[in-house]
Symmetry: C2
Subunit: 99 residues, 2 copies
Protein backbone atom coordinates (compact mmCIF):
# COMPACT_ATOMS: atom_id res chain seq x y z
CA UNK A 1 0.00 0.00 0.00
CA UNK A 2 1.42 3.41 -0.96
CA UNK A 3 1.73 5.63 2.07
CA UNK A 4 0.70 9.25 1.98
CA UNK A 5 0.10 11.74 4.74
CA UNK A 6 -3.55 12.68 5.05
CA UNK A 7 -4.42 16.29 4.38
CA UNK A 8 -7.45 18.49 3.75
CA UNK A 9 -10.81 16.82 3.19
CA UNK A 10 -9.33 13.31 3.11
CA UNK A 11 -7.96 13.87 6.57
CA UNK A 12 -11.18 15.38 7.90
CA UNK A 13 -13.26 12.50 6.63
CA UNK A 14 -10.85 9.88 7.94
CA UNK A 15 -10.70 11.48 11.38
CA UNK A 16 -14.47 11.77 11.53
CA UNK A 17 -14.81 8.06 10.82
CA UNK A 18 -12.11 7.16 13.36
CA UNK A 19 -13.52 9.30 16.15
CA UNK A 20 -16.86 7.63 15.50
CA UNK A 21 -15.11 4.38 16.44
CA UNK A 22 -13.53 5.69 19.63
CA UNK A 23 -10.21 6.99 18.33
CA UNK A 24 -9.00 10.37 19.52
CA UNK A 25 -6.22 12.72 18.47
CA UNK A 26 -3.15 12.69 20.70
CA UNK A 27 -2.36 16.03 22.29
CA UNK A 28 0.89 17.51 21.03
CA UNK A 29 1.45 14.90 18.30
CA UNK A 30 -0.14 14.21 14.94
CA UNK A 31 -1.28 10.75 16.00
CA UNK A 32 -4.41 8.86 16.97
CA UNK A 33 -4.99 6.75 20.05
CA UNK A 34 -7.51 4.25 21.37
CA UNK A 35 -7.81 2.08 24.45
CA UNK A 36 -9.04 -1.45 23.79
CA UNK A 37 -10.33 -3.48 26.74
CA UNK A 38 -10.82 -7.22 26.41
CA UNK A 39 -12.10 -9.96 28.71
CA UNK A 40 -8.69 -11.12 29.89
CA UNK A 41 -5.03 -11.40 28.88
CA UNK A 42 -5.72 -14.30 26.53
CA UNK A 43 -8.14 -12.16 24.52
CA UNK A 44 -5.94 -9.07 24.65
CA UNK A 45 -2.78 -10.82 23.51
CA UNK A 46 -4.66 -12.89 20.95
CA UNK A 47 -5.90 -9.64 19.43
CA UNK A 48 -2.39 -8.16 19.53
CA UNK A 49 -1.10 -11.20 17.68
CA UNK A 50 -3.66 -10.82 14.89
CA UNK A 51 -2.78 -7.13 14.63
CA UNK A 52 0.96 -7.88 14.67
CA UNK A 53 0.64 -10.16 11.63
CA UNK A 54 -1.20 -7.46 9.69
CA UNK A 55 1.17 -4.73 10.86
CA UNK A 56 4.18 -6.75 9.74
CA UNK A 57 2.57 -7.42 6.37
CA UNK A 58 1.88 -3.68 5.95
CA UNK A 59 5.35 -2.87 7.31
CA UNK A 60 3.57 -0.35 9.49
CA UNK A 61 3.68 -0.90 13.23
CA UNK A 62 1.75 0.45 16.19
CA UNK A 63 2.98 1.91 19.44
CA UNK A 64 1.11 -0.05 22.06
CA UNK A 65 1.03 -0.58 25.79
CA UNK A 66 -0.49 -3.71 27.30
CA UNK A 67 -1.29 -4.57 30.85
CA UNK A 68 -3.46 -7.66 31.40
CA UNK A 69 -6.69 -7.14 29.45
CA UNK A 70 -6.06 -3.59 28.27
CA UNK A 71 -4.16 -2.38 25.20
CA UNK A 72 -3.55 1.33 24.58
CA UNK A 73 -2.63 1.97 20.97
CA UNK A 74 -1.08 5.01 19.32
CA UNK A 75 -0.81 5.23 15.55
CA UNK A 76 1.21 7.65 13.47
CA UNK A 77 3.52 7.42 10.50
CA UNK A 78 6.95 8.46 11.71
CA UNK A 79 8.40 8.74 8.18
CA UNK A 80 5.74 11.28 7.24
CA UNK A 81 5.53 13.15 10.51
CA UNK A 82 1.85 12.49 10.98
CA UNK A 83 -1.27 10.48 10.31
CA UNK A 84 -1.28 8.65 6.99
CA UNK A 85 -3.55 6.30 5.11
CA UNK A 86 -1.58 3.42 6.69
CA UNK A 87 -2.72 4.51 10.15
CA UNK A 88 -6.32 4.61 8.99
CA UNK A 89 -5.98 1.14 7.45
CA UNK A 90 -4.37 -0.33 10.57
CA UNK A 91 -6.92 1.33 12.87
CA UNK A 92 -9.69 -0.19 10.78
CA UNK A 93 -8.17 -3.68 11.08
CA UNK A 94 -7.78 -3.22 14.84
CA UNK A 95 -11.42 -2.27 15.21
CA UNK A 96 -12.53 -5.19 13.08
CA UNK A 97 -10.44 -7.73 14.99
CA UNK A 98 -11.77 -6.35 18.27
CA UNK A 99 -15.25 -7.15 17.02
Amino acid sequence: MDAHKLEGTDRDQALEALTGHGWTLVEGRDAITKRFVFGDFNEAFGWMTRVALVAEHMNHHPEWFNVYKTVEVTLTTHDMGGISNLDVALASKMDRFAG
Copy 2:
Protein backbone atom coordinates in the same frame (compact mmCIF):
# COMPACT_ATOMS: atom_id res chain seq x y z
CA MET B 1 4.12 -21.04 42.04
CA ASP B 2 3.21 -19.52 45.41
CA ALA B 3 3.54 -15.77 45.32
CA HIS B 4 5.17 -13.83 48.11
CA LYS B 5 6.42 -10.29 48.30
CA LEU B 6 10.20 -10.10 48.55
CA GLU B 7 11.61 -8.62 51.72
CA GLY B 8 14.89 -8.34 53.58
CA THR B 9 17.85 -10.32 52.34
CA ASP B 10 15.81 -12.25 49.75
CA ARG B 11 14.84 -8.96 48.18
CA ASP B 12 18.37 -7.56 48.26
CA GLN B 13 19.82 -10.65 46.62
CA ALA B 14 17.11 -10.79 43.97
CA LEU B 15 17.52 -7.10 43.11
CA GLU B 16 21.28 -7.44 42.92
CA ALA B 17 20.93 -10.29 40.42
CA LEU B 18 18.35 -8.38 38.39
CA THR B 19 20.32 -5.15 38.22
CA GLY B 20 23.26 -7.22 37.02
CA HIS B 21 21.04 -8.13 34.06
CA GLY B 22 20.00 -4.59 33.24
CA TRP B 23 16.85 -4.27 35.35
CA THR B 24 16.36 -1.09 37.36
CA LEU B 25 13.93 -0.04 40.08
CA VAL B 26 11.10 2.21 38.94
CA GLU B 27 11.02 5.58 40.63
CA GLY B 28 7.99 6.04 42.83
CA ARG B 29 6.77 2.44 42.53
CA ASP B 30 7.92 -0.86 43.95
CA ALA B 31 8.54 -2.30 40.48
CA ILE B 32 11.38 -3.21 38.15
CA THR B 33 11.83 -2.16 34.55
CA LYS B 34 13.99 -3.04 31.57
CA ARG B 35 14.17 -1.99 27.95
CA PHE B 36 14.70 -4.84 25.48
CA VAL B 37 15.88 -3.96 21.97
CA PHE B 38 15.69 -6.54 19.19
CA GLY B 39 16.67 -6.58 15.55
CA ASP B 40 13.22 -5.77 14.19
CA PHE B 41 9.50 -6.11 14.91
CA ASN B 42 9.47 -9.80 14.04
CA GLU B 43 12.04 -10.51 16.73
CA ALA B 44 10.44 -8.18 19.27
CA PHE B 45 6.94 -9.57 18.86
CA GLY B 46 8.20 -13.14 18.65
CA TRP B 47 9.84 -12.61 22.02
CA MET B 48 6.67 -11.04 23.42
CA THR B 49 4.72 -14.09 22.29
CA ARG B 50 7.06 -16.47 24.09
CA VAL B 51 6.82 -14.33 27.22
CA ALA B 52 3.02 -14.11 26.91
CA LEU B 53 2.69 -17.90 26.99
CA VAL B 54 4.80 -18.14 30.13
CA ALA B 55 3.04 -15.17 31.76
CA GLU B 56 -0.35 -16.74 31.11
CA HIS B 57 0.82 -20.05 32.53
CA MET B 58 2.10 -18.24 35.66
CA ASN B 59 -1.04 -16.12 35.75
CA HIS B 60 1.32 -13.21 36.22
CA HIS B 61 1.43 -10.59 33.50
CA PRO B 62 3.81 -7.80 32.56
CA GLU B 63 3.12 -4.17 31.81
CA TRP B 64 4.86 -3.61 28.50
CA PHE B 65 5.15 -1.02 25.77
CA ASN B 66 6.24 -1.97 22.29
CA VAL B 67 7.17 0.16 19.35
CA TYR B 68 8.80 -1.63 16.42
CA LYS B 69 11.90 -3.40 17.73
CA THR B 70 11.80 -2.10 21.30
CA VAL B 71 9.88 -3.44 24.29
CA GLU B 72 9.86 -1.61 27.63
CA VAL B 73 8.78 -3.90 30.43
CA THR B 74 7.63 -3.12 33.97
CA LEU B 75 7.10 -5.89 36.48
CA THR B 76 5.36 -5.72 39.82
CA THR B 77 2.79 -7.79 41.68
CA HIS B 78 -0.29 -5.63 42.02
CA ASP B 79 -1.95 -7.97 44.54
CA MET B 80 1.00 -7.64 46.88
CA GLY B 81 1.80 -4.00 46.31
CA GLY B 82 5.34 -4.65 45.23
CA ILE B 83 8.00 -6.91 43.79
CA SER B 84 7.42 -10.61 44.40
CA ASN B 85 9.10 -13.89 43.51
CA LEU B 86 6.79 -14.02 40.45
CA ASP B 87 8.39 -10.87 39.09
CA VAL B 88 11.84 -12.33 39.57
CA ALA B 89 10.78 -15.55 37.84
CA LEU B 90 9.21 -13.71 34.90
CA ALA B 91 12.19 -11.35 34.56
CA SER B 92 14.48 -14.38 34.42
CA LYS B 93 12.41 -15.96 31.64
CA MET B 94 12.42 -12.68 29.71
CA ASP B 95 16.19 -12.45 29.93
CA ARG B 96 16.61 -16.05 28.87
CA PHE B 97 14.26 -15.73 25.88
CA ALA B 98 16.08 -12.55 24.81
CA GLY B 99 19.27 -14.59 24.64
